[in-house]
Symmetry: none
Subunit: 220 residues, 4 copies
C-alpha cells in the first residue's frame, strides 16, 4: 500500500551501510546484522510517521529496507515491538529540563519545524500522533507527557497550577505539530520560523509567567 518510499530509505539504508566507501571492507553486505537492523528502523520510522501504525504493513517496511519481512521478527519480535523501538523517546524533550524559560518558545518553534516541511519527514512526535488510535501509543504518550511536562517541567514553573500550565504548553506543542506537519493548514505550514516565533511568545510567555493567569479573569 502507498507505493514506495524506497528511494529515500535506500539513502538511510546506505548511510548505515557504507559499502563501497573506503575503510569498511566492501564484502560484508548481506549477513550484516547491525546494518539490517538499522535499515529496518529507518524504514519503519519513515513509514510509521507517514502513515501511522495501522496503515503500515511489515512487508512494506521490509521492502523499503531492502530485506525480508521475516527479519522484522528476528530483530524486533513483532510489528508492535518495532513500532515501540521506533517511537521510543528520542530525548526530544530533554532540553525542557534546563532551558531558560524565555527560550522555551524558541525551542517549541524548533521542534515543530523539524524535518523538511514539504515531505512530511519522520518527526518523532508525528509518529505517535499518527498512531494515536492505538491504546498503547496513547498510554506511552500519557506517560511521557506526565513525566516531562506535568512532573518535570511544571516543577520549574512558579505560580499556581503549574501542572496544568505545563500541560497546556504540551497541548499547544502537539496541536501545532499536527496542524503544521500532518494537516498542513495553510498559514502554519508556510509561515517562516521567526514569524511563528513572535506569535508563539504571545501565547506561551504569559503561561510561563509566575503570576499567571494574572488578572485575566476580570473581564470574562
Amino acid at each position: 500500500m502507498y507505493g514506495t518510499v524506497q528511494a529515500e530509505v535506500r539513502q538511510v539504508n546506505r548511510a548505515s551501510d557504507p559499502r563501497g566507501c573506503d575503510d569498511l571492507p566492501p564484502r560484508a553486505r548481506r549477513y550484516d546484522a547491525a546494518g539490517t537492523r538499522s535499515a529496518l528502523l529507518g524504514a519503519a520510522e519513515l513509514r510509521f510517521a507517514r502513515y501511522g501504525y495501522d496503515r503500515c504493513s511489515v512487508r512494506d517496511i521490509a521492502k523499503d529496507a531492502g530485506v525480508d519481512a521475516a527479519l522484522v521478527y528476528r530483530y524486533f519480535g513483532s510489528k508492535e515491538a518495532l513500532f515501540d523501538a521506533v517511537s521510543t523517546s528520542t530525548g526530544l524533550f530533554e532540553p525542557l529540563r534546563h532551558l531558560p524559560l524565555n527560550e522555551v518558545s524558541a525551542w517549541i518553534c524548533d521542534v515543530v519545524s523539524m524535518g523538511p516541511t514539504e515531505e512530511e519527514a519522520p518527526h518523532p512526535l508525528l509518529t505517535k500522533l499518527r498512531s494515536s488510535n492505538r491504546e498503547e501509543t496513547v498510554g506511552r504518550l500519557r506517560e511521557e507527557v506526565t513525566e516531562v511536562f506535568s512532573q518535570g517541567f511544571a516543577r520549574r514553573l512558579e505560580g499556581e497550577d503549574a501542572e496544568l500550565r505545563a500541560e497546556l504548553l504540551a497541548a499547544w506543542l502537539m496541536g501545532i505539530t499536527l496542524l503544521r506537519l500532518a494537516i498542513r493548514s495553510p498559514a502554519l505550514a508556510t509561515t517562516p520560523d521567526d514569524t511563528l516565533l513572535r506569535f508563539l511568545r504571545a501565547g506561551i510567555d504569559p503561561l510561563l509567567d509566575a503570576d499567571c493567569p494574572g488578572r485575566g479573569g476580570e473581564d470574562g
Copy 2:
C-alpha cells in the same frame, strides 16, 4: 477486536431514540429502519471516536448496534461512507462566526469539555483526530480548519497575521482536546472547567488582541 461496547451503545441507542419514551416495551424493535440507522450511527460514532477508522471493523460496529453487518451497506453504502456520516461537520465550529472575541476562551473550554470525560465519549473532534492517519480525514480536517479558522475566524481578527493567529488557536483547541480526552494527561483530564478557563484566557486572549504579538519580541 476490542470486545464489545454493546451495553453502552444500547443506551445511546435508546437515549437517542425518543419514541415510546415510557410505555413502549423496549424489546421487539425489529423492522425499524430509522432506529437501525441511528443505532448504527451511534455505534459507529462511539467506535470510531474510540479506536479510529482502522481499528474498527464493520462487524464490530454492527454487533454493537445489535444488527447485521450487511445493514451498514444497506444504509450507508460502505464503511467509509459510514465514517463520513459520523464525522461530517456537526456545526461544532459554528459559534466561531459570531461569538464575541472575549468569549472565545470560554467556548473552547466548552468544546474540550464535551462528553463525559471519564469514558472517552464520542467527541466530534476526537473522531477525526483518532483517524488522522487516513489521508481523507486529514484532507477534510485541512479543509475544515482552513474554512473555519484561516478564512472565517481570521477575518474577525484585527492586527497582523490574522490567519496564522487563527490557526494557532485551532492548534491549541486540537491539542487540548487530544490531551484532555484521548491522552488524558493528569491535569487537563481532571481540572474543572472554570480553572481551565482562567489559564486558557492567559494564553489565548493575547493572540486575539489587535496588537498581537505586541512588543513581545523584546525580552527574548
Copy 3:
C-alpha cells in the same frame, strides 16, 4: 453490477403494462400481478442473456423491472426458478420437425440472426450458452439437444449415423450463435444474412445428404 439496462427494459415493461394506452383502465398499475410477473420475466431474459446466470443479481433484475426483489420469490420461488422460466424452451427448434431439409440452412441463418446484432439482445440460445457453466443448464441443454436433434431431427435424415450428423448440425448452430452474438468475431458479426447463407449451405447440405459422408474418406 453492470450499470443498468433499465431503459430498454422499461420498454419491455411498458409493452406488457400498457398504462395510459386506450382501453385498459389507467388506475391499475401497482398491484398488477400479471404485469409484474412479465416485467420480471422480461428483465430477467435480458440480464441473463447478456451476463449469464452468475453475473446477474436478483436485485438488478428487479430494479430493471421496476419492482422489488422480493417479488421474484413471490412469483418464481427462487433465482434459479426464474432462470428456468426464462430459459425454458421457447419452441425455437419447433420448425426442425417439419421443415424441408433444403430449407434448414436458411432456418439456421435466421436463428443466428435473431435479435439486433448490435446490442446483444436476448437470444434464447445465448441465454443458455452464457450460463453453460451451470450444471442444470448443461443438463437441460443436453436434454433439449438430445430430444430435438439426436432423436427428433435425426429421424428425418437418411443414411448412416444420422444421430451424429444431427448433432454436428446442432454444434454448428451453437458455435455460430456464440461467435456471432457473444464473441462477435469480425466476419460473422457483420456478414449479411444472404452471404452467410451461401456458405452455410456449403457446409450443411452435405451433412443432410442421404449418402453423407459420401466418398470423403478416400483422400484423408
Copy 4:
C-alpha cells in the same frame, strides 16, 4: 461449493511434477514453491474448466491443491490472474498455421477429443467457453479467434470470403467442443474419432475448397 475434486488433482499434481519420479517419498513436500505453484495451476485448470470462473472460489481451488488460499495471491496475485495463467493461449491453434488444408478436419477431430471424454478434463477451449460470461474472457476469445482464424488461417484459403469461412470453421470447432465435452450430447460424446472424422470432412472440406460456396445456391 461443489465438494472436492481433491483426489484427481493430487494425481494431476504428481503427474505434472516429474521430480523424484520413483524413489522420492510422495509425502513431505512442503516448502516447495514450484510444486505449490503447479499444484495451484492444476487445480485451477480443472475447476475453471469444469465450473467456469464464477462458480470457482479461490478457497476451493486452494483446497483442491492442498494448500492455503493465500498462496494463490502469493503466486498469482489475484483470482483473475490465476485464471489468465490457466486460460492463456497454449498454442492450441498453432498447427493451423502450417497444416495442409486436407488435414484440418483431422486436427479438429484431435482437438475436440483432447482429454478423457468421460470426466470432463480440462480442455483449454472449454475453460474459456465455460467462462464465456465474463467480458474479459469474451474479449480474449475474440482476439484469439480474430488473430488465428479471421486473419491467420483465412489467408491460407483461396476463394471468396475467406475470413467468413475461417470463422465458420472456428464456430464449428467451438460448437463441437461444447457439445462433446460440456453438454455431452449422446452421439458426439461417444462416437469414436475415426467415425467423427469422416463426417467432419463432409462438412468442413467444402468450406476449405477454393471455389466454395460453389454453385450451392441453385437448389435452395
